[in-house]
Symmetry: C2
Subunit: 112 residues, 2 copies
């Protein structure tokens, strides 16, 4: 998958991943791989800054914990984040509807 395709949809992916419960960054990356059937393999340089952006925007909140001597920052959706997720899902449907209206299933008549 070409990387630009994801532009503007990453926030929706991260919020949706946290919808099932809190996760730490590394686990989010693994969850995205699993749920996408291996199609999404996001680098940490993409995910960590995006999570900080979402936290600054108030859509997720995080807490530090230590598990087996390793530091973990666990993220969870805020209420605003849940609302944002709903909006993202709606936007996604509108987006795909618009694109598929153009992509169609094959050739179109020139001036329908």
């Amino acid at each position: 998958m070409k990387s630009d395709a994801l532009r503007g949809h990453l926030d929706a992916l991260l919020l949706a991943t946290l919808d099932g419960g809190q996760l730490h960054g590394y686990a989010i990356i693994e969850a995205l791989q699993r749920r996408s059937g291996g199609a999404l393999d996001l680098p940490t340089g993409t995910v960590y800054p995006a999570l900080r952006r979402l936290e600054t925007a108030g859509l997720v909140a995080s807490e530090w914990s230590t598990v087996g001597g390793r530091q973990r920052r666990t993220y969870r959706l805020t209420k605003a984040g849940k609302r944002a997720l709903d909006a993202e899902r709606t936007a996604w449907r509108e987006f795909t509807t618009a694109i598929e209206g153009v992509l169609g299933g094959g050739p179109w008549p020139a001036q329908a």
Copy 2:
């Protein structure tokens, strides 16, 4: 619709629009509006450079003509463009499958 969402999908839209027959730039913008149900209203500063990029890549070809005293540059798909369109449609299906696997229809079990 947020503008970044389109990133990486514009080429597919333009190629698909030309799949029904040759069109000039302005008509392509109108066709995109029509086919997307009004959701897509691309500025000329987006479409014209993109068409030149596609022409440089050999996916479309263009010819000048004059209609009613106005200059028109009419674009059509090349064979490479048709192949590229097929590839774009396949990529689109893979993309939406991946995203929808993550977005799902609602909450997921934490560790399926």
